[in-house]
């Protein structure tokens, strides 16, 4: 059960990072070179 928990946590963490990257507004090019 602990192993299953660990795998679920890994998926949740990786997906959270991907979602955060997708939602991130932190794009230096856009911020540094406003047109």
């Amino acid at each position: 059960m602990a192993e299953l928990d660990a795998h679920i946590a890994e998926v949740e963490a990786n997906v959270a990072v991907l979602k955060a990257l997708l939602a991130s507004d932190d794009f230096p090019d856009e911020e540094e070179n406003p047109s």
Binding site: M1, L4, H7, I8, V11, V15, K19, S24, F27, P28
Partner: protein, 164 residues
Amino acid sequence: MTDVTSETLRRWRQSRGWDVPRMARELRRVARDSGEDVAAHHGLVKMIPQWERGDRAPRERYRLLYLKIFTDALSGLPPVEEAVELALRVAEVRSRAARLPGPGDVRVLEAATLTRPRGRMTPAEIRALAEAAIAHLHEVAGKLEELSALLGDDEADGASHERA
């Protein structure tokens, strides 16, 4: 033991993960422990399927041996509180697994993330992250199957990781 059907004998044996020869060994073991005289192993191997099919009923001494094995097995079960806690834990972990995205969803997320003009991670890192997530999803699926087999239930885990 009179209300135990032949089918119950088979299901109970299988729930223990025992094949017929193992059931025969257990009956002989319990008989030996209590000083009973029972049929030879190969005789029991023939009789057990007959009892389980209902072709013939086990004689009293065998019914008592079954009863002894059942009682021993029941005394080995965890207390009710622990069983309830375990059931809740299983339900919780299944619920978490069911909320996970499927491999296809991860691929979509990966592709969408890669379309961003620049992120804090390189495309290779993003791909590696998605690959790892999918690999863990497969592990989750495998572990859920093991868990279901262990618990002897047919409950569909409902995990979205099965989605394409």
